[in-house]
Amino acid sequence: MSVIKDDQRGPIIQVEGLRNQFGSQIVHEDLDLSVNRGEIIGVVGGSGTGKTVLMRSILGLQEFAAGKISIFGKPITGLAEKEELEVRRRFGVLFQNGALFSTLTVAENVQVPLREFHSMTTELMDEIAGYKLGLAGLGPEAGPKYPSELSGGMRKRAALARALSLDPRLLFLDEPTAGLDPIGAAAFDHLILELRDALGLTVFLITHDLDTLYTICDRVAVLADRRVLAAAPIKELLEIDHPWIQDYFRGPRGRSAMAGDRENRKLAGT
């Protein structure tokens, strides 16, 4: 029996009045954000605006100065140990630098959460490791390698496979396509979309990849001036008159991604 009942109503993540501070540097002030069930929300913002810190706060890895964060309708601070475990195993997290366990092989990294929470047969666990690596776009030869023997992009994929290993309800991805080749990045976008449609995943996706934002995100939250300026579909963001938003989406890269998106839609329409 699960300890936490997901009430199936309301936003899956709710951040209210969050304030984060390092010494005298205030990273977030009065930040509000809510993430709905089953949506893919993109989080954008300049480097150093606190995207990673926001994700760590939601995950309960970062003590924040003020505010309230709830997941599945429960505040994340002050959860009993058992409840916290229960919540955590519904998370899949891909850290910005992968954070793979360096003493385990890639396949063992994928199996770690399975071993921790379940007692399945070795045979099944090995099969799971195999297809999870396949889903993340790694071949079977990557399984017995150590993280230090992988390229940067492969490490990202291995970390994604580990994040997916418990079939989480809620997936946190910190710049997943940074360091991937464009084909790999497109395949990644496709995978996330498919999983969302098949499993009803909710995805919290930090990215700088404009193509990813256009292709898979239902809404995009813009982090600037220490708070979430707006969280809306890109089309609506384009209407907002804020210099950073305009530069971001209407700059040269933004325009080409927009054009690419239109092209895709046209192709899909015919």
């Binding site: 360096s102 092989t105 396949a107 199996q111 399984g143 017995p144 449609d197």
Partner: protein
């Protein structure tokens, strides 16, 4: 409801399984073995999934495996009540399906013990060679740095000297003080049998200046700083910081090793002398309390019975031990590769080997100084 139920019935066409509830990773440990059983059952099988509430990729995998396996063997399998979601998931895991090795197996060898001895000897020789090479590189860098003192990183040296020397004052002092007390106390017990308590002063004075002061300090510095050197440099190697230095044009030996080496070499004699003094203080205290020898007399006697050469022996050995500790620590740090485990291994090796080398060298010094007539 977090469970799945299987309803198993025999019909005239064959076997019919009706699944209800959830087929997710949480319940898979119960369901998977039951479905695996059916893989080799030649009776035609109908799987009714109409009652499934939620299927995740693990559930889809188990279903896919069952269907694949049966189809391969030519057994009839039919799925009913398949939703597009489940179908999509099964297609997805099917596409991603691959057998992967989890970990390369350790090769089983005949003559297992022999092979291990061989590997051990080979590793030892290799390590000895690389250590000599590292020592050579370090000495070369040191000479170069000393010839161009502007290239010495004074700030780094000072900072390391603070960490290695000043911060160690407390623990080295306390430890030496206690050792002094133990030697004086135990010595007094033995010497009292001969009515020769006064020789406690000879015992404490000579042994601390000549041997124990420097040896105990060296062991403490190896444990505190040798390990720190290995762990710091090792972590930097893992994070590719050392490679980054190389590409920027900062030789890692000059930047990382030389400051630590110089700092330890300077700090060791100072610490060792201080340690010896603290041991004397401990010995003086015990002699006073237990034997009634007033401190003034103790110090006077000390000057008479401890030859200057004893102090010199200690002060000559200390910087050499410092070099050994710093070079061993930095060497093992630079040897780190691959995983966090290697940092631990190399840190251990740094401490064990530097203490071992210090003690071996100490034995050589003992013979050497005796031969010199500094007995």
């Amino acid at each position: 409801m977090e469970t799945a139920t299987i309803h198993d019935e025999r019909t005239e066409e064959g076997r019919r399984l009706t699944l209800h509830g959830r087929l997710t990773v949480r319940v898979i440990e119960d369901i998977s073995p039951r479905l695996r059983e059916m893989e080799d059952d030649p009776v035609p099988l109908t799987l009714d999934l109409g009652g499934m509430k939620r299927v995740d990729t693990t559930g889809a995998w188990v279903l896919y495996r069952l269907v694949e396996h049966r189809t391969e063997q030519g057994f009839i399998t039919e799925l009913t009540g398949l939703t597009p979601r489940i179908e999509a998931l099964m297609a997805q895991v099917g596409k991603a399906n691959q057998m992967t090795t989890i970990r390369h197996p350790i090769r089983k060898r005949h003559f297992h013990l022999l092979a291990r001895i061989g590997a051990w000897v080979e590793g030892g020789i290799y390590q000895f060679g690389t250590f000599l090479a590292f020592l050579g590189l370090t000495m070369l860098a040191l000479v170069r740095a000393l010839m161009h003192p502007r290239r010495l990183r004074w700030l780094a040296i000072l900072r390391q000297a603070e960490v290695v020397g000043v911060s160690a004052l407390g623990i080295v002092g306390l430890m030496s003080f206690l050792v002094g007390i133990v030697i004086a106390q135990q010595g007094a017990v033995q010497l009292r049998q001969f009515g020769a308590e006064v020789f406690v002063i000879n015992l404490v004075g000579r042994i601390t200046f000549r041997e124990l002061g420097v040896l105990m300090t060296a062991i403490m510095v190896a444990g505190r700083s040798g390990s720190a050197f290995a762990a710091q440099i090792g972590s930097m190697k893992l994070a590719e910081e050392v490679d980054a230095m190389r590409t920027i044009g900062m030789p890692p030996i000059e930047v990382l090793v030389i400051p630590r080496l110089i700092a330890t070499t300077i700090a060791m004699p100072l610490l060792a002398f201080y340690g010896a003094i603290m041991a004397i203080v401990g010995g003086t205290l015990i002699s006073w309390l237990q034997l009634g020898i007033p401190p003034a007399i103790f110090i006077l006697r000390l000057q008479e019975v401890v030859p200057l050469t004893d102090v010199l022996v200690g002060l000559i050995k200390a910087p050499v031990f410092g070099i050994i500790i710093a070079v061993t620590g930095c060497f093992h740090g630079m040897q780190v590769e691959g995983s966090a485990e290697a940092v631990g291994e190399k840190t251990t090796a740094a401490v064990v080997q530097s203490i071992f080398l210090v003690i071996v060298l100490d034995a050589f010094f003992a013979i050497f100084f005796t031969a010199l007539g500094w007995a």
